[in-house]
């Protein structure tokens, strides 16, 4: 059964190729169906493998499948190989699982789009790349997937490329990611220079056995983190993610919520031993950046009016939580939160997508409201997602977030408080969104003329292809927490499952104040969540207090615009200066020589006056000079 692993990436790839070749003929909806089937079946295979792994004893849950030797040069021997172990399978599971759901959803969402087949072509390619990323046996194969997903995200963000904003957003995403890639490449260079291999086993083994100097480990860790920041939209590189919302909503759900953006977390977990071997401060850096990002994004989300922008910023914020976890050594918690987040954030995104679809591509929440009446399923599922992210027990988000905060507390109180504050804000802005979209009075009538405006202006519920995934996911969003319940050691199923990966580097908080009083913290978390929700209701539903949505928050602390102005202003000037330098100085020198020769030629021509007597004079002059030399040689 394990040997069928090759099927997992192969199936989506086949789907991709088939659509490349016959996409036009297949057309709608068969292209979509094909893609969905491919992804789903690959999910089935993964599930099968998962169960097989479960059946194996822990130490045997680690298999390498080598296809062929990819880049063998001297000491560098990189194979095209897959690593099957709990972590990769976990990732593969929810990638393919959620992936197939979103495929299904997309069939409905992309209905009627001229480039329907192309969309699914990209989606399948993305799934393939993502699987390469998570299944990669060495950094390079992961990097292959890493870049693959980046490229697909570029394609998909600028899917409606005739819209300049979409095109720009795609480019921005790619280039920003490249900055991260630079970090990841440098990390690989360091690893190879130090260990002489790029395989996770090799590197991690070296790290665990102390074969990796702390300084090198730190270097690798930090560089990997740079890479992660790029992919997982952390400060300072998060800027591309909000813009990425230009893409179709399924894309946002799949790539920019569930899967790709979490690959940074995955990578750091993979390399946990290296982080562990690095100087402690590197972990603190990661945790701090995570926490700050979380808070930063949350504050921004408070003031957004675009339904998807809110979710985008909340994604950034949640990713910040995961990095906080990583930095605090809570790898399991990180993965845990990644999974649950995948559930409810995908759910939320698709819900918003359904809303947008129903509203004829209206995204401004100020023009919505009271939609629960017209699209009930969407509303209910969305509300479930909201509860999950807000951290209301027993929904999935509660457990994972709480786990993270627990470790954070044990690690660093300050970061814990930042986390709590973020949680509060999260509850606040999510509630705000729910209220603005589904409750209150309907505000869509009075904008009939401007909005998408085709046919009737009353929103409608989406087709089953879209609602079905919502239902499934909401189910997961409710129950997702079971993976890892804090009640007893036994209930830490996920932790046991991931044992072989993280046992070495997972922080041990046994006996710390935090773990002793985790029930207290748990309670606190619940209180916080409720407080946030209450506050939000007070403001937006009851209108008790005035909404605090300062313009600066709406503008994301001016961060993005500042960068834009730097790039567009001084940056552009500098580049132009270089170009001008090349044209005038470097090339100018070359051309200058030519003109000099011409000038000299003209000068000499004047000597060539055509007058015999001056010729004689020149000959004589030459003679005199020459004779002078000879005379000197003779006399001296």
């Amino acid at each position: 059964m394990l040997d069928l692993i090759w099927l997992v990436p192969a199936l989506p790839l086949t789907g991709f190729l088939l659509i490349v070749l016959f996409g036009r003929k297949l057309g709608e909806p068969f292209a979509g169906i094909l893609a969905t089937v491919m992804t789903a079946s690959s999910f089935v295979v993964v599930a099968a493998i998962y169960f097989e792994l479960l059946s194996l004893p822990t130490e045997e849950r680690h298999h390498v499948f080598t296809l062929f030797s990819w880049i063998p040069v001297g000491g560098l021997q990189v194979d095209m190989a897959w690593l099957v172990d709990p972590l990769s399978i976990t990732m593969a599971l929810f990638v393919t699982g959620i992936g197939s759901l979103i495929h299904l959803y997309a069939i409905g969402y992309m209905h009627g789009d001229a480039k329907f087949p192309k969309f699914f072509m990209y989606l399948n390619l993305f799934i393939f790349s993502m699987l390469m990323l998570v299944l990669g046996e060495n950094l390079l194969v992961t990097f292959l997937g890493w870049e693959g997903v980046g490229t697909c995200s570029y394609f998909l963000i600028s899917f409606w490329h005739t819209r300049d904003s979409a095109a720009t957003a795609g480019k921005k995403a790619f280039v920003t990611n490249r900055v991260g890639d630079w970090g990841m490449m440098t990390a690989m260079f360091l690893a190879f220079a130090a260990v002489g291999t790029l395989s996770y086993e090799g590197i991690n083994h070296a790290a665990e056995t102390g074969g990796l100097a702390a300084v090198t480990a730190t270097g690798i860790a930090m560089m990997l983190f740079v890479g992660a920041c790029g992919k997982s939209a952390q400060l300072p590189l998060y800027i591309w993610l909000p813009d990425a919302m230009e893409g179709p909503t399924p894309v946002s759900a799949l790539i920019h919520a569930a899967t790709m953006v979490t690959s940074g977390v995955f990578l750091l977990t993979r390399m946990a031993p290296v982080l562990h071997a690095a100087y402690p401060w590197s972990s603190d850096v990661i945790a701090t950046v995570g926490a700050l990002t979380a808070l930063f994004a949350a504050t921004i989300a408070v003031a957004q009016t675009d339904i998807k922008k809110v979710l985008a910023y909340s994604t950034v914020s949640q990713l910040g939580f995961m990095f906080l976890a990583i930095g605090s050594g809570a790898y399991v918690a990180a993965i845990f939160h990644m999974v649950t987040h995948a559930f409810f954030k995908a759910l939320l995104f698709m819900g918003s997508g359904s809303v947008i679809h129903g509203m004829h591509h209206e995204q401004d929440m100020r023009r919505m409201g009271a939609l629960r009446k017209v699209m009930p399923i969407t509303a209910i599922t969305f509300i479930i997602g909201w509860l999950a992210i807000a951290g209301v027990p027993p929904f999935a988000g509660f457990w994972s977030k709480d786990e993270i905060l627990l470790y954070a507390f044990a690690n660093n109180r300050l970061l814990y408080f930042i986390g709590v504050l973020t949680a509060l804000l999260t509850a606040y802005y999510m509630t705000r969104q729910v209220i603005m979209v589904f409750f209150g009075e309907a505000r869509w009538h009075d904008h009939a003329e401007e909005n998408g405006a085709h046919g009737d202006h009353t929103p409608h519920e989406s087709p089953w292809t879209m609602t079905a995934p919502l239902v499934v996911l909401s189910g997961l969003a409710i129950t997702g927490g079971v993976m890892q319940l804090p009640f007893s050691k036994e209930t830490h199923w996920l932790e046991h499952w991931l044992e072989p990966i993280v046992h070495h580097s997972e922080a041990n908080i046994e006996g710390t104040w935090a773990s002793d009083n985790k029930w207290l913290l748990l309670g606190l978390a619940v209180v916080i969540a409720c407080a946030g929700i209450a506050a939000s209701i007070a403001v937006y539903a009851k209108g008790k207090a005035k909404a605090i949505e300062p313009e600066i928050l709406a503008d994301a602390w001016r961060y993005d615009s500042a960068i834009a102005s730097i790039v567009g202003g001084p940056g552009r000037k500098a580049f132009n200066a270089v170009a001008a330098f090349d044209a005038h100085i470097v090339d100018g020198a070359v051309v200058g020589v030519g003109t000099e020769v011409r000038a000299a030629s003209g000068l000499l021509r004047r000597v060539q006056s055509g007058l015999v007597r001056s010729y004689a004079a020149i000959v004589g002059l030459g003679a005199v000079i020459m004779l002078a030399w000879f005379l000197l040689r003779g006399v001296l």
Binding site: V73, G75, Q77, G170, R178, F189
Partner: protein, 531 residues
């Protein structure tokens, strides 16, 4: 070492009963003459002949590739005949892993250009020049005699000069002249260097010879002499590559040259410089090359960043691609002078990769020009909406040029960088940022040209034709294949590279970094199980 070379020579003889390398040079040469003599009345025959000859050459090169002995790092198919014995010059040809794929690339590119791109007038002359050019390029990649190399290196200028000047665009004559004189200026020093090398080697060898192998193996130069000689060669190659700041002939030449010319120019001509650095820099003057390392690494790094930045700001699409070449070749030079197994192998591979991807890019730009009669980015818009397949092709080629894994560009670039990182850490870290810039300038250009709503000038943009499609398919196929499965290439390149590194280590105080298993043995074992 020498004995091994002759051994391989015999092996080569055994494999190739007839002198295939000489044939590779002479066939196009003869072809050029035939084409010139053909009558103008039946142009289609002219084209046919040229095509057949170039295809034949390409086939021979592939045959040679097939017959190439993977595990032998030495020169193969060696053929040596005395030529100008008065000056100890011999017709000495040979191919090893370093030149192998350059020869094959030449063999492939020329037929593609001849079949795929039409000149718009005087086709006969155009084809004749192209064939002559092919002969020259082949010659310079195959020569193992300094003199022989020089004359091929030099003769190439003439056909290229005519191609640019005769079939180029508005500023063609300026560009052609600049190209000719600039390159000639560089080789002026090399000529003196070559003679000096031979004259000085005579003191060790006892007889005058221009034979590369003999000199490299048996002659030793005083430290400073070696450096001066290396310098004289380096100038020529630096101009040819071109290395910042000697690059300014390239944008003009590339931009003004006809599409076919640009493809060849980018595809193989520039490689004569980088190849020269390997063959006549590292191999001939190891100590001096090691001494010059820092300077060249710095220039290469500057070139990478500088070229990329300059490219970003170009308003002419073709010029942009030209500047991207400056950046890419910077990588190759970086790899060459980092002198590690990976970086050198990557460098050699990147020569081919750049030939493919940039060549293809020039083809695509040429097609755009065919359709729109402009290369100005500002005048192009939204082409993807009207010609999606064309756009897709452009995208793939572009991604390979950006260096996205899974495509050829990445493998070379990555090998170069990871190899260089060990011996030239900081240069590499800086150079790696070039990867970001590459994405920037290409994607920006792509967005401006292909994205957005097409204005009415571009709304009639013709979708790719069958002929163009097949032409590009070959390129894309190679791009994809080498990206996914580079091993056949690497395993042939590496033995020669390792041999070269050993040579450098033997003749200088340089020590290449070793990993467990080290380069040579490990790789060989791997190649074994590879076959």
């Amino acid at each position: 070492m020498l004995s091994s070379i002759f051994a391989s020579a015999e092996a080569g003889e055994a494999m190739a009963s007839f002198p295939i390398l000489s044939a590779l040079i002479l066939l196009p040469l003869i072809g050029a003459i035939i084409v010139t003599l053909l009558s103008n009345r039946r142009p289609e025959y002219v084209k046919l002949t040229a095509a057949l000859i170039s295809v034949g050459t390409g086939a021979m090169s592939l045959w040679m590739l097939a017959k190439f002995n993977t595990h032998d790092g030495g020169f193969q198919f060696v053929s040596q005949h005395s030529w100008i014995d008065a000056w100890g010059i011999s017709w000495h040809l040979g191919v090893d892993g370093i030149s192998l794929f350059l020869v094959v690339l030449t063999g492939i590119l020329f037929p593609l250009v001849i079949l795929g791109v039409d000149p718009h007038h005087d086709e006969k002359r155009y084809l004749a020049w192209l064939l002559l050019l092919e002969a020259g390029v082949m010659g310079s990649f195959l020569s193992l005699d300094l003199f022989l190399f020089f004359i091929f290196f030099e003769i190439v200028l003439v056909p290229m000069y005519f191609l640019i000047g005769g079939w180029g665009y508005d500023k063609r004559i300026y560009a052609a002249t600049k190209f000719f004189l600039y390159t000639m200026f560089g080789s002026a020093f090399m000529l003196v260097g070559i003679v000096a090398t031979a004259a000085l080697a005579r003191r060790d060898l006892g007889y005058l010879t221009f034979d590369l192998v003999k000199i490299a193996e048996h002659a030793s130069f005083a430290t400073n002499t070696g450096r001066w000689l290396f310098l004289s060669f380096a100038i020529a190659f630096a101009v040819k590559v071109p290395i910042f700041p000697l690059h300014t002939w390239l944008p003009d030449a590339h931009t003004q040259a006809p599409t076919g010319g640009s493809v060849i120019l980018a595809g193989v001509l520039l490689k004569m410089g980088t190849y020269g650095f390997l063959r006549f820099g590292l191999y001939l003057f190891p100590a001096a090359a090691v001494w010059a390392k820092p300077v060249l690494l710095t220039l290469a790094t500057i070139g990478i960043i500088y070229g990329a930045i300059a490219a970003t700001m170009q308003t002419d699409l073709k010029r942009l691609v030209a500047y991207s070449s400056v950046a890419h070749l910077g990588f190759i030079v970086l790899g060459t002078f980092a002198i590690t197994s990976q970086s050198l192998t990557g460098g050699v591979m990147q020569m081919v990769n750049h030939g493919l991807s940039t060549g293809a890019l020039f083809l695509l730009v040429g097609m755009i020009y065919e359709r729109r009669h402009t290369r100005v980015i500002a005048e192009l818009k939204g082409i993807q909406a009207v010609a999606p397949i064309f756009a897709a092709a452009f995208m793939v080629v572009m991604l390979s040029s950006i260096g996205v894994p899974g495509l050829n560009g990445f493998v070379g670039e990555f090998l170069i960088l990871i190899g260089s990182f060990e011996t030239a850490r900081w240069w590499t870290v800086v150079a790696a940022t070039g990867v970001i810039l590459a994405a920037l300038y290409l994607l920006w250009a792509y967005q401006r040209v292909f994205h957005g709503e097409p204005d009415e000038a571009n709304s009639t943009f013709k979708e790719i034709t069958l002929r163009e499609g097949t032409l590009l398919l070959v390129f894309i196929g190679l791009i994809g294949f080498t990206g996914i499965f580079p091993k056949p290439m690497l395993s042939r390149i590496e033995p020669s590279v390792d041999k070269l590194i050993e040579h450098v280590e033997k003749h200088s105080d340089y020590k290449a970094p070793m990993h467990e298993g080290g380069h040579s043995t490990d790789s060989h074992s791997s190649t074994e199980e590879g076959e």
